[in-house]
Symmetry: C2
Subunit: 170 residues, 2 copies
């Protein structure tokens, strides 16, 4: 942890190159995200930044240490529940980046009018993430047997996690 301030700001789709190094390293492990290790830049860019998805980066001293995105988890009559995803640069682990991203996303999604947030696919063996999301107020509301083909462990469960968002004063 350095003394420099962590700045979290929204990016455009054209800035996805800022996210790509962290994204690529996270999916390369085959142990965290559903996206395949050979996901292309264009596929990742679309998934992470194509509207209505909104993407943000966390920067310290000009270096991007992580990113998150959020979007409606369902269309129409389900579009009050946000879905979000997070990546942290491997070299920036254990610095509170993921927690800072999550807390920022909870505020930003609430400000955007969402009343709850849902994660559809938290890999059960990604224990640090499961604990982090729990400490950020998420409950496990579902479990899909063997939904993730873990690169090292074979089929493991995916968890669905959920929390209401705090209303925003307007």
């Amino acid at each position: 942890m350095t003394g420099s301030t962590l700045l979290i700001r929204e990016i455009t789709s054209d800035e996805f190159a800022l996210v790509w190094p962290a994204f690529r390293q996270v999916v390369a492990g085959g142990d965290v995200l559903a996206q395949a290790p050979d996901t292309t830049f264009e596929q990742a860019q679309r998934m992470w930044t194509a509207p209505p998805t909104r993407a943000f980066v966390a920067e310290r001293d000009g270096a991007v240490l992580g990113s998150y995105m959020f979007r409606p988890n369902q269309p129409g009559l389900g579009d009050h529940v946000a879905n979000a995803g997070y990546v942290t640069s491997p070299e920036a682990r254990n610095q509170g980046i993921a927690r800072a991203l999550c807390e920022h996303s909870l505020r930003t999604a609430a400000e955007a009018g969402f009343t709850a947030m849902q994660f559809n696919f938290v890999v059960e063996t990604n224990v640090s993430a499961v604990h982090l999301w729990a400490s950020c107020g998420f409950d496990i509301v579902g479990r899909v047997p063997g939904a993730f083909r873990h690169a090292g462990l074979g089929p493991v469960d995916a968890l669905i996690m959920y929390r209401r968002l705090d209303p925003v004063a307007r």
Copy 2:
């Protein structure tokens, strides 16, 4: 129930007009699907038929009585689990159409290589659907509080339902 055979066949995206009357009537009620009552033809067509989604219709005596679609529920390391959706024409209710569609989809998805099927958004108050999917072998594996803004009842829960698919002899 008539004596005529129910024919279930795959359609192309260009044939979505066959599905649209049933789809439009189902979403109009605001009590079954996440899609808003004012979903456009083009939005519905994309959601129901754009690859990798595959769509099918059930016909009897030349009339389309219902439709289903399926696709991977996740990319990459989660693409062995299918997601599916079903609509039945309101005038064809209580004729076993939805069950026939579901059973057909279980076979077709298994033949396509999927090993399980997951429904992400079964409205809890759609009791006949919940019972039907249960009778087709689906378990409730999750519940998202208030995830659906029911047109008549306000916020109700969405259920996540899941079953393994029977392996296909090849």
